[in-house]
């Protein structure tokens, strides 16, 4: 009996060790109550299942363990500690809100495991808290920093005006929500569009409907008086429809009406108000017609979850797993030094329509995407109008007058 028990115990130990060795654990941290986190974690799980179905990584299965940061710094720090010390993950992915991401950084730095971050655009706190190389070399940032975004919009509008001479932009008005997101958009807009005096810039803050606001009359009146060629608002999905309703009431129809929320309300495209509203983003289902990787991701996601990916954060999270898996495969290990070296050689054809590589940004060494896209709602679909190499439609100009 004693012998049998010893044999069973030994077997349990061996099989446990074998299971541990046959699995590579990665920790994913998102704000799960938010659509970006919900769909981001779902897309990451999809990538894990696809990788495992194709034989795993170097004979090992990939396992994703998801934790919620609740969008708060202290909860985010607890999530990192739990994944690192209890689940013993070998790398991290995820992230969205800068205020939560910066709470993770001390714990990330302490463990030194590789992080492929999907969100956090605020360079003023996140990039600054990460610090320069080599201290932050473990951190691979996929999402563009706020200054990258601003630069790509300036580049995009310059290119659009050159290609379509009927579109002329001289005056830009930015309505920005009064928080960190809106203020950094305002600073970037002033710096990038106002620098060489080619554009006249004006702007005003508003309280987002997400944070208890929702009356945009003052900011829209100011914009209307300014007569902008490009009206841009930086806020949240909750602001999208009410702001359009109030713009309609005020009969405010600028040449280009553009919104830059992190995500759009579900069903926004089917609203009559959405007609020819422009937007900034990284991806649209319209790209399925021109990009095979995009279509493959979209079909697999819809098949598994019976809903459309509503934000590009789903694709960023999918990409994070894919990039990490390729890196581990190339490195033959999850040991940080080897994995960092392998990830530095990344050339990943993303469903977002570009090849992701890592280059230095203003502070850190490993920045992935630096360019966003300019899109436009046309007949209920987000069409890409710039960059031209991935464009799915020509821009409709001007924004139609209200009837």
């Amino acid at each position: 009996m004693k012998k049998l028990l010893s044999s069973l115990a030994a077997l349990a130990l061996v099989s446990g060790a074998a299971f541990a060795q046959s699995t590579i654990k990665i920790g994913g941290i998102w704000t799960l109550a938010d659509i970006t986190g919900k769909q981001g974690s779902a897309a990451a799980q999809l990538a894990v299942e696809e990788i495992n179905a194709a034989g795993g990584i170097n004979g090992k299965k990939l396992e994703l363990i998801v934790a919620d940061d609740e969008g708060k710094a202290d909860k985010a720090a607890a999530a990192v500690e739990k994944l690192a010390t209890v689940d013993k993950v070998e790398a991290f992915i995820g992230g969205m809100a800068s205020g939560a991401e910066v709470g993770k950084i001390p714990a990330y730095a302490k463990y030194g495991k590789v992080v492929v971050a999907t969100g956090a655009a605020s360079s003023a706190i996140v990039e600054k808290a990460l610090g320069p190389s080599p201290g932050s070399d473990y951190y691979f940032h996929l999402h563009p920093w706020d200054y990258n975004q601003g630069a790509s919009y300036a580049e995009g509008w310059d290119a659009i005006q050159k290609k379509y001479p009927r579109i002329q932009i001289k005056k830009i008005f930015l309505a920005y929500e009064e928080g960190a997101f809106g203020k950094s958009s305002w600073d970037a807009t002033k710096a990038l569009f106002g620098a060489d005096k080619r554009y006249t810039i004006d702007g005003a803050p508003f309280k987002s409907a997400l944070l208890g606001g929702g009356d945009y009359t003052a900011v829209l009146e100011a914009a209307k008086a300014f007569k902008p060629d490009l009206f841009l608002w930086a806020g949240y999905d909750a602001d999208a429809l009410p702001m359009l309703e109030q713009a309609k009431a005020l009969k405010f129809s600028p040449g280009i009406y553009l919104g830059a929320p992190p995500g759009w309300p579900i069903g926004f495209g089917s609203s009559k108000l959405a007609r020819n509203v422009s937007l900034y983003g990284m991806w649209s289902p319209a790209m399925n017609d021109t990009n095979a990787a995009s279509k493959k991701f979209y079909d697999a996601y819809v098949k598994k979850y019976r809903e459309e990916p509503a934000t590009y954060f789903a694709l960023l999270s999918y990409d994070a797993v894919r990039i990490l898996a390729d890196g581990i495969k190339a490195a033959g290990s999850t040991e940080p030094a080897a994995l960092i070296k392998a990830l530095e050689a990344t050339k990943y054809a993303s469903p977002l329509g570009e090849t992701i590589t890592f280059k230095s940004s203003n502070i850190i060494k490993h920045q992935g995407i630096t360019r966003q896209k300019i899109l436009q709602w046309q007949n209920g679909i987000q069409e890409v109008i710039w960059p031209f190499e991935v464009a799915t439609a020509e821009p409709v100009y001007p924004f139609p007058a209200w009837k």
Partner: protein
């Protein structure tokens, strides 16, 4: 006998709390830090409540302390360790000065003004962009205090909690208790008994605000950054309130009990229901407020009285 048992239990709990880093990993220590932070805030809220004044200004004074600490270091060149007591002094001084204006108010008027104060501090920080970093926030260039050492950060938060517990104990055991209780019960009779109402309210408001500022300083140095949306978050007002309501108000034990329960339940729910834990957490808080308005301690006292009544 009961008092001796209570002291023995408190001594054991204190010893376990101090020694926790010796046998707990980084994750439980981080969870304990979160629980202790809200516990200390719940205690300070309750301390002022003993005078009958309901403050909604916790997040304002917490955030003010947080910014005082980080700006003291970044703009003032202050040593990091000194920035934490400095945060307490700034919050206490602000409360002392504002107290002359707002402690003449009572009931919901006082509550609304404290809520407005919190928003006012946030807006001021928001708009002093060059000095405070504005809405984007500000980062500690040297990173987190103690190099992010989990045990040291735990002890730092524990020290903040110890200050709150000691102050609460002082409020319970000194003559302040009689003054605050008298004010809470009936101001006219308190005044006719010689209680200087304004003076004792000012003491309570200044002390509790100073501790809230101290906790803000500890928080900001533990994470190495501050943003207005982060440190002035309504969570720092609402969660301590919910904890004190759950545990039972008008004493030290209730908020402690409520913070432990809600803090641990929140973390446990997150592990068990990662995609829906906040809904369940919210439902629990609503049920507690509806069916246990006097909290767990109140319920325990009611049951104990019922049992004694049954015996007699």
């Amino acid at each position: 006998m009961n008092r001796n048992i209570a002291r023995a239990v408190a001594a054991v709990v204190a010893a376990v709390a101090v020694a926790l880093p010796a046998f707990a990993g980084a994750y439980p220590l981080q969870v304990a830090r979160n629980v202790m932070m809200y516990m200390a805030l719940a205690i300070t809220w309750d301390m002022l409540l003993r005078s009958g004044q309901i403050s909604f200004g916790i997040a304002g004074l917490f955030g003010l302390g947080a910014y005082a600490a980080i700006l003291g270091v970044v703009r003032g060149g202050m040593p990091v360790w000194l920035s934490i007591p400095f945060a307490a002094v700034v919050a206490a001084a602000a409360a002392f000065l504002l107290g002359f204006l707002i402690l003449r108010l009572r009931a919901m008027y006082f509550s609304i003004v404290t809520l407005a104060l919190a928003e006012m501090f946030r807006i001021v920080i928001h708009n002093l962009h060059d000095f405070t970093g504005g809405p984007e926030g500000i980062v500690m260039p040297a990173g987190v205090i103690f190099g992010g050492n989990a045990a040291a950060l735990y002890w730092l938060t524990l020290a903040g909690l110890a200050v709150a517990l000691a102050a609460s104990w002082w409020f319970e055991k000194s003559r302040i208790r009689f003054a605050l209780t008298a004010i809470g019960n009936n101001e006219i009779s308190a005044s006719s008994s010689g209680v200087n109402i304004f003076r004792w309210l000012l003491v309570a408001f200044t002390v509790t605000s100073g501790i809230q500022g101290l906790l803000g300083g500890i928080y900001v140095q533990s994470y190495g950054f501050a943003t207005p949306d982060g440190v002035f978050s309504a969570d720092f007002t609402l969660l301590p309130l919910a904890m004190a309501l759950l545990g039972g108000m008008h004493g030290t034990v209730g908020p402690v009990l409520g913070a432990v329960l809600l803090g641990l339940v929140s973390e446990w729910l997150k592990l068990k229901i990662p995609y829906g834990h906040l809904i369940v957490y919210g439902i629990i808080i609503i049920i507690v407020i509806l069916f246990m308005p006097a909290g767990i301690l109140g319920l325990a006292r009611k049951m104990s009285r019922g049992a004694e009544g049954g015996k007699s």
